[in-house]
Amino acid sequence: FAKKIKIVSITFHYINIYKKLSKCKICYGNLTTFNLSCPFLSQTYHSERHTGQYYTLPAAHIQKLFPHGLPPRFQLQIKTFNEGCVMVRPPALELISYLKKADYSKPPLRYILYGDVGTGKTMCLSHALHYCYTQGWLIVHISDAHLWVKNCKELLPSSSRPSRFDQPIQASQWLKNFKITNERFLSKVQLGYVWTKRERTEKGQPLGELVDQGVNRMKSSSDVVGAVLRELRLQAGGATEGEGAFKLAVAVDGLNALWGKTSLKKEDRTMCEPEELTLIHNVRKMMKNNWSGGAILTALSQTGSLFKPQSAYLPSELLGEEGFDNMEPFVPVSVSNYNEKEFESCYLYYLDRNWLQHSHSRSEEGKKELIFLSNKNPSILERLCAFL
C-alpha cells in the first residue's frame, strides 16, 4: 500500500511539473514528443530522459547572450523558423552536470568538447553557456578564436609592449559583444589599477567605464581586453557573498587557434606567431587555472583551423604538443553523430516545421535515404534537408 502511495505521489509530482511546464506563461505551452518549451524551468530539470528533445531559447536571451556566438547556419535557421530550438544531447547534459557538481572555491575545471566535423560541438557549448547565463554567471565568450588569427586587416604594433601586435577591430568588436552580454555586471564590478603610463583608471571605477573606453578608443582596445580579463580573474573567486559575487564562465570556441599557426604576416613578410598577438596572449593567460570561482568551457574546431588535415579531430592532433601541455589537465567530452533517437527527433522537428517539403521525405523510404546520405551527422543532415 505504502509503495502504491509512493508511486502515485511520485507520478503526481511529475504530473505537477508537467502541468507547471505546460501552463507556463513565459513560453508557449504544448509539450510534444520532441519539444520541451520552457527554458527557465527546464534548465534545471534537464536530465537523461530529455535527450533528443528540443527546447526553445527565448529571443531575448539569444539577442543578449549570443550576439556573435551561434554558428551561422543555426542563425539562418532561427531567422527562418522564427525561434531558436536546441536539441538536448548527452554531451551537453554531461557538461551541465559537471558544472552543477563542481566546487567553485578551487581552481576552475577545463572542459574540452571534441569530435568529428559537424557533430555539434559549438551547439553543445552554446547550450551549456545558456545554462550558465540563466544561473547568473558572468560570461566571457570568444565565439571563434580562428577569426583572430586569420584575415586580419589591421595589425598595429602594440602600444604597451614593443614585440606584440594589436588587433583593434577584433578587440573592439569583442568588447561590444561583451558589453551586450554582461550588462548587469558592468556597473557592479569594481576596478582598480593603473594599466598604462598614459591612461589610468582609478580605483573604484566600474567595469563599464573601462569597456566603454576600449570601445571608443580603438588603438588601446586590445590592452583593454587584457585588463578586463585580468580584473575578472582576480575578482571571480573573491567575494562569495555580497554585491560583487559572481561566477565566471570562460567559453572559447576553436581552442586550437590559440596554439596553432596564424596566417598573418608582419611588415617584414615573416609569419606571425600566435604569442605575438596581444589578444591571443591574454586569452592564453585566461586558460591557465591559477584563479578560482568559475569554469572554462572550450570546444575544438577543425573547420576554421589553419594547416590542419581534415581527418584530425582529437585534442592531441588539433591542439599540438604545446597546446596539449598547456591545457592539461582537462576534462574531455566527446561529441558524436546523432544516434537513432536523436535522429528521429530531428527528423520530426523538421517535419513539424514543414521544412521537409518533398512528399517522399515523409515516407519510411525517404527517411532511410536521409539516414544513409547524412550518416546521421547533424550538419550534413541540416544541409541536406535545406533543399528538400
Binding site: 581527418s311 523510404e365 532511410k368 539516414i371 544513409f372 550518416n375 551527422n377 541536406l384
Partner: protein, 385 residues
C-alpha cells in the same frame, strides 16, 4: 573566231595541200565544216578512275580457289602447331595466328587474320543474264529483283492462305482459333540484315513496306501454314542477357552471410565485402564514407544500388578503393556493391538490376591526346594567316 581561223587554215591546206597531202583531202570530204580542236590531255586522265569503277568484282572461280587455299592452309597450320588437322576449329586458327604473328596494333581489325573466304569477301550476285544478254529473272528490269521477288512471294502466300480459308469455309470447318505463331522473344530482321540476305541495297521505305506485308500475312487466321517461312525473317533475341557471374554467398564463423565483389571505373579499382544483418555502416579504406566522399553526389552513387533493391539499412559495407578521382572511385564502388548484391537477391530482381544499368561497367576512359592538337579534342589557336 577560232573556227573561222581554222576554216581559214583548212582552206589554205585545201589549196596547197592538194598537191601532196592525200589525207587532207579525205578528211575534208568526210567532215567538211566541223572544227577539230586539239584537246590537251594530261596524264591524270589516263589513270583509272578508281572510285567510279565500284567495288571490286570477284569471279566465282576466284572465290573457289580461295576456299581451296584456305582449307589447305588450315591443314598446314594444324600440322605446324602440332594439332590434329581434322578437328582444327576457327578458334584454334585464331589462337595460332595470334601466336605466330604477334601484333602490337591497337585496332583489332588491323591485325593479321585467317578466316574462311566467305567471311572475308563480300557476297556478290552472279551474272544475271545469259550469253545473249537475256536476263534470267522476270523482275530483272525493276532494278532490285530480289527485293521485288520477295514481295511477290509473300503476296503469293497471302493469296494461297485466302484460298485455303475459302476452302475451309465451303467445307464449314472455318475457325478463327487456329494455332498462332509464337512471336515473343524474337524480332524482325533489321534493314541491314535484310540487305545482307538479299545481297541488294534497299531503302528505308522499302523495308517498311516489306515489314507491313509480313504483318499482313501474320494477321490472317491460317498463317501458321507459313510459319517456317516467316520465322526465317525473325531473329531470336537472347533469352536472358544476364550472363553475369553471381558471387558466391559465404558465411562467417558467426553465421553472418557476406559476399565479396570487385568493380572498376576509369582507373579506379574497388573491392568490397557486403555483410548481412548490419546497420548501414560503410567503411572505406578504414575511414567513414562521410570523410571519403564529402560530396553528396558520390554518396548518392553509393546509395543507388541498395536503394533500388530496397535494402538500405540492412547491410554493412567494408571496402577499399584506389586510383583515379573521387567520382570514378564512387562509380567503381557502386559497381562492386551491385555485383555483391546479386547473391542476396532473387532471379527476377537480378534482371531488374541489369535493366537499371547497375551491372554494366562504364567503358568510357580518358581519350588519347593527339599530336598536332592541345588535347584530345582541343586544337591549337586557329590563325587565318
Amino acid at each position: 573566231m577560232a573556227a573561222s581561223g581554222c576554216r581559214g587554215v583548212r582552206s589554205i591546206l585545201w589549196k596547197y595541200g592538194s598537191c601532196g597531202k592525200n589525207f587532207c583531202v579525205s578528211r575534208s570530204k568526210t567532215v567538211p565544216q566541223l572544227p577539230v580542236r586539239q584537246i590537251c590531255v594530261s596524264s591524270s586522265l589516263w589513270k583509272k578512275n578508281l572510285a567510279a569503277a565500284g567495288p571490286q568484282k570477284f569471279t566465282q572461280e576466284f572465290i573457289d580457289k580461295q576456299v581451296e587455299e584456305f582449307e589447305v592452309g588450315k591443314r598446314h597450320l594444324a600440322n605446324m602447331m602440332g594439332e590434329d588437322p581434322e578437328t582444327f576449329t576457327q578458334e584454334d586458327i585464331d589462337r595460332s595466328i595470334a601466336y605466330l604473328f604477334p601484333s602490337g596494333l591497337f585496332e583489332k581489325r588491323a591485325r593479321p587474320v585467317m578466316k574462311h573466304p566467305d567471311e572475308i569477301f563480300p557476297k556478290q550476285t552472279a551474272i544475271q543474264w545469259d550469253a545473249e544478254g537475256r536476263p534470267f529473272h522476270f523482275l530483272f528490269y525493276t532494278g532490285r529483283q530480289s527485293y521485288y521477288s520477295l514481295l511477290h512471294d509473300v503476296y503469293e502466300k497471302i493469296l494461297a492462305i485466302e484460298r485455303h480459308q475459302d476452302k475451309m469455309r465451303n467445307k464449314g470447318l472455318f475457325t478463327s482459333e487456329t494455332k498462332q505463331i509464337l512471336l515473343t522473344g524474337s524480332r524482325w530482321l533489321l534493314k541491314e540484315e535484310i540487305e545482307e540476305y538479299l545481297v541488294e541495297n534497299i531503302s528505308d521505305h522499302d523495308y517498311v513496306r516489306l515489314i507491313q506485308l509480313m504483318e499482313k500475312l501474320l494477321s490472317m487466321p491460317y498463317c501458321s501454314l507459313e510459319e517456317e517461312f516467316i520465322l526465317k525473317f525473325r531473329k531470336q533475341l537472347e533469352a536472358q542477357s544476364s550472363k553475369h557471374e553471381i558471387p558466391a554467398l559465404q558465411y562467417d564463423p558467426q553465421g553472418v552471410a557476406f559476399s565479396v565483389a570487385d568493380g572498376r571505373r576509369k582507373t579506379a579499382k574497388a573491392s568490397i565485402t557486403l555483410r548481412d544483418s548490419g546497420s548501414g555502416n560503410i567503411t572505406i579504406n578504414g575511414r567513414n564514407y562521410l570523410h571519403c566522399f564529402p560530396l553528396l553526389q558520390d554518396r548518392e552513387q553509393l546509395m543507388f544500388p541498395l536503394h533500388f533493391v530496397g535494402m538500405l539499412g540492412r547491410f554493412d559495407i567494408e571496402g577499399s578503393v584506389e586510383g583515379s578521382g573521387h567520382s570514378a572511385q564512387a562509380g567503381a564502388l557502386r559497381l562492386a556493391i551491385s555485383r555483391a548484391l546479386l547473391s542476396f537477391v532473387s532471379e527476377g530482381e537480378v534482371e531488374r538490376i541489369r535493366q537499371a544499368g547497375l551491372l554494366t561497367a562504364d567503358p568510357r576512359i580518358r581519350e588519347r591526346k593527339k599530336p598536332g592538337q592541345e588535347g584530345a579534342r582541343k586544337k591549337f589557336t586557329w590563325k587565318k594567316r
